[in-house]
């Protein structure tokens, strides 16, 4: 079987394919390394840990990506049909053993190093003094509830849900604890831990704030707690990250991280509005 057929030895194809692979590698490496398209900066400690793990994974996968694609480009060019004899081999047990072990160790190490950030998000309980906020998601709005001056949440019931009467949580208005503050956006004091209790009225939603590096589905029938400590004053988007219907992409609200003093002022203001 020598190169007697037309499509053999097509150096042109080899060169084009190798070049395409090299351009792919160069462009990809540049766009990641120069951080042309970065994540927005994290505003929690956990967020920074997640970013560090992300960077580590980027390094590991980046090296593999470059080696594999450049290696492929090199082989495509080097072993194009020039009528040479093939280097006959059926494989190598040693190589199989080496790359199986190497990838296994590499991947599991990576996985083990990722545990820390996950544990901080999910295995560590919030401190006892953490600020409590209830979150009620519904097609296609967000509602937030603070316990009010008495520090207690009023009981709620689905039959009392009423968006038109400004009672999206279905607060039992006859209860003595019914001084809860209900807000369409989330106001939080900087540097203080907060625990959100996520609930949904209708379908699955998802609480997502990019700068918090947190995404959590909100499943109807479940109350799912999450906690974090915002460390940076600013305004951030709260997005719905789980398809919830036709208004999914318009279901957003705002997280406002403010100073402790501004937060107290805001609370007072809300309480005053409640009195009216």
């Amino acid at each position: 079987m020598r190169s007697e057929e037309g499509q053999r030895g097509s150096t042109a194809a080899a060169v084009v394919l190798s070049l395409m692979l090299l351009i792919l590698v160069a462009t990809t490496v540049y766009l990641f390394a120069a951080r042309v398209y970065p994540m927005p900066p994290a505003i929690t400690r956990v967020g920074h840990w997640i970013d560090r793990q992300y960077d580590l994974t980027l390094w590991v996968t980046g090296v593999i990506f470059v080696l594999a694609q450049v290696g492929l480009a090199w082989m495509v060019f080097r072993y194009r049909d020039r009528g040479q004899k093939v280097h006959f081999t059926r494989g190598s047990h040693v190589l199989e053993l080496v790359w199986t072990t190497a990838t296994f160790i590499l991947f599991t190490t990576l996985g083990a190093m990722a545990v820390h950030a996950w544990a901080q998000v999910h295995f560590v309980s919030p401190a006892p003094g953490a600020l409590q906020v209830d979150v009620m998601a519904e097609q296609f709005t967000w509602n937030f509830r603070y316990p009010g001056p008495d520090g207690k949440f009023a009981p709620t019931s689905p039959k009392d849900y009423s968006d038109s009467n400004g009672n999206p949580f279905g607060i039992d208005t006859s209860s003595k604890d019914q001084d809860d503050i209900v807000s369409p956006y989330l106001e939080l004091p900087v540097g203080q831990e907060v625990e959100l209790r996520l609930e949904s009225k209708d379908v699955i939603h998802d609480f997502y704030v990019r700068e918090l590096r947190i995404k959590q589905d909100i499943v109807p029938g479940m109350i799912i707690p999450i906690h974090f400590t915002p460390l940076q004053i600013g305004t951030y988007d709260i997005l719905c990250a789980q398809l919830c219907g036709m208004g999914h992409n318009r279901m957003h609200s705002t997280l406002r991280v403010v100073s402790e003093a501004d937060f107290q002022k805001w609370l007072k203001q809300q309480e005053a509005e409640n009195q009216q």
């Binding site: 499509q7 097509s10 080899a14 395409m20 692979l21 792919l24 462009t27 398209y37 994540m39 927005p40 840990w49 997640i50 992300y54 590991v60 996968t61 990506f65 694609q69 082989m75 495509v76 072993y79 194009r80 040479q84 004899k85 093939v86 280097h87 006959f88 081999t89 494989g91 190589l95 199989e96 199986t100 990838t103 991947f107 599991t108 990576l110 996985g111 990722a114 996950w118 998000v121 295995f123 849900y161 209708d202 379908v203 699955i204 998802d206 947190i214 959590q216 589905d217 109807p220 029938g221 988007d237 997005l239 990250a241 789980q242 398809l243 219907g245 036709m246 999914h248 992409n249 957003h252």
Partner: protein
């Protein structure tokens, strides 16, 4: 070749009459082509749908032809849902497995047909009906469902109250998928029985082409996975139509003016578990046959044996086995136990090991070869490149902590489109260019094939690489438009870039359509073995006669005996006797 060692195929003559021969045929080759054409029809629909929603993403305020103005969010979501469902079920499951598997599995193991030809025909026609039922959802008054191809309840379970298309449209979706499951179970049963029982003499497991391994392991996955989705579909159908509460929790309220739903106590997470228990094996159902085809084609055109054949076969089995243990990585942010998330994370990273083994062995197959750049070979090499790229982004998503920011963003879209969407499509293209001469007796045009490859390969990366960065910046999937969010509006140029790349790449597929239909009549005559390949399909006429073999062949060696030193020819077909081979020695 001793005559008594052979069995003459008793397959009856091909039925006469158009309908029995081409429509309700029991011949595995006709059925394979039927599946392939069904997938071609489906992929055409799926691609047009993607063009429509890509157009909307690029020009959110422009009128889209056929939508009577600017596309509404529910129309966008219906397109996305149907695109995903059609592509995953009716293209990626149908073409590589049911299409090529039906055509070539029996031939490659030396059988005259599938074990159960009539069952085979039944499977195809159920699949066909399932496709019609799915597409008919577009023609209901409220349109197709909008809940995505994953159909999470309660959105998918409570009916039209949850949104347009969630009424009749979603019911049709569920029925279609249930039918598809049934057909796929029958197909899987057939494939497994055929592989176990119909192999010819000498075709031991370790002499099977890796394509057969791919189809076999895929069939096992299908057999164990589709029943679970079928059960889930039945339960969600009962929730929708018979007021049960398998997946619908208590006290759901969709509007102030209506009382809470009477359902109680159901669990949306239960659906997610059932769905992904099927759903993760499903992505391997799409990719394993393409892996087999890639190995097969790489070896054929490197003129070398597959590097580490046994490692390739075992890693297919390992991937198949592990694929049933990793479904939870789709649910890291679902509210599932965070402890089980860690277990799923490690199992997911572990499935990267056999995937890496395959990649190394593909590179090993190319290494030291004499590479012929046919269109089939280019697509197989393209598969390797895409599989590496898409596999590596999986390493991010396999870690639950990194999944927190990236889950449900375009990063995930980029990941699975590259690794199981485009890569599997590349496997299908490689298979089509490679086997077309066998199926139709003529070669496809190589020049057009290469042009098709260059544009498609570049296009695939141009479309999907930018989605990684969109995802990293926080762009969420299933958003019909930026929804007034400035950070999303700033990504408009990327969206436009992707859309243009998608249009060009999509248009380049016309080269493939033209090449395919033109070559049926005008392609260069292929003969029995145009690629000088070793496996049994190349020992019979092109196209093969009814019953495939005049004499059931006997197999004497492994499937990839290319480039052995000391022979006049650089390939030793599986069916040649040792005496015949001895004569070829130099």
């Amino acid at each position: 070749m001793s005559a008594e060692a052979h069995v003459v195929s008793h397959a009856p003559h091909a039925p006469r009459g158009f309908i029995r021969r081409y429509i309700f045929s029991t011949d595995h080759k006709v059925i394979g082509i039927q599946y392939w054409l069904l997938a071609l029809a489906a992929v055409s629909v799926g691609m047009v749908l993607s063009w429509l929603f890509r157009a909307h993403l690029a020009w959110p305020n422009a009128a889209i032809p056929g939508f009577g103005g600017v596309m509404k969010p529910e129309q966008y979501l219906a397109l996305v849902t149907m695109h995903g469902t059609i592509m995953i079920f009716f293209v990626l499951t149908v073409a590589p497995q049911s299409g090529f598997g039906n055509y070539f599995l029996p031939i490659q193991i030396g059988a005259d047909d599938m074990a159960f030809p009539r069952l085979n025909m039944l499977s195809f026609w159920i699949t066909f009906v399932a496709f019609l039922v799915l597409v008919s959802a577009f023609f209901t008054s409220a349109g197709a469902p909008i809940n995505g191809w994953t159909s999470y309840p309660p959105l998918s379970a409570v009916g039209s109250i949850a949104g347009p298309g969630q009424g009749t449209g979603e019911t049709l979706w569920v029925i279609s998928i249930a039918l598809f499951c049934l057909a796929s179970l029958l197909t899987a049963l057939n494939f497994i029985s055929t592989t176990i029982e119909m192999r010819t003499q000498g075709m031991s497991l370790m002499r099977m082409p890796l394509t057969v391994w791919g189809w076999f392991v895929t069939a096992v996955l299908g057999l164990l996975a589709f029943g679970v989705l079928l059960a889930a579909c039945i339960l969600v159908l009962l929730d929708r139509l018979a007021a049960t509460s398998f997946f619908i929790p208590a006290g759901l309220v969709f509007s102030d003016t209506q009382p809470p739903l009477t359902h109680a106590g159901g669990s949306p997470l239960l659906w997610e578990h059932l769905f992904w228990f099927f759903g993760h094996p499903e992505v391997y159902i799409a990719i394993l046959p393409a892996m087999g085809i890639t190995s097969h084609v790489l070896s054929s055109f490197s003129r070398k044996p597959v590097f580490g054949y046994k490692a390739m076969a075992y890693s297919l089995c390992a991937i198949g086995f592990l694929s049933f243990t990793v479904w939870g990585h789709h649910m890291f942010v679902s509210g599932m136990s965070p402890y089980s998330a860690l277990a799923f994370s490690f199992l997911t990273l572990a499935i990267g090991v056999p995937s890496a083994i395959k990649t190394f062995n593909w590179l090993g197959t190319l290494w030291g070869g004499r590479i012929h750049f046919t269109a089939a070979m280019l697509f197989a090499i393209g598969f390797v490149s895409l599989f590496v790229t898409g596999g590596l982004s999986g390493l991010f998503l396999a870690q639950p902590s990194i999944d927190l920011p990236l889950h449900d963003t375009y990063f995930v879209i980029a990941h699975f489109h590259i690794v199981m969407g485009v890569a599997a499509i590349f496997g299908i293209f490689a298979g089509t260019y490679y086997w077309f001469p066998k199926m139709f007796g003529r070669k496809m045009n190589e020049k057009l094939g290469k042009a098709h490859f260059w544009i498609t390969f570049a296009g695939a990366y141009l479309i999907f690489m930018p989605m990684h960065w969109m995802g990293i910046m926080g762009a969420l999937r299933r958003y019909a438009d930026p929804g007034g969010l400035p950070f999303l509006e700033r990504m408009a140029p990327i969206d436009l870039f992707i859309t243009i790349a998608a249009f060009i790449t999509g248009a380049a597929q016309l080269l493939f359509y033209f090449n395919f239909f033109w070559s049926l009549r005008h392609g260069e005559k292929a003969g029995e073995n145009p690629w000088h390949a070793t496996t049994l399909e190349w020992t019979i006429p092109s196209p093969p006669p009814h019953g495939n073999f005049v004499e059931i062949p006997r197999v004497y060696r492994g499937p990839y005996e290319y480039g052995l030193p000391g022979y006049k020819e650089d390939f030793l077909p599986q069916h040649l006797t040792p005496e015949q081979v001895a004569k070829m020695a130099t």
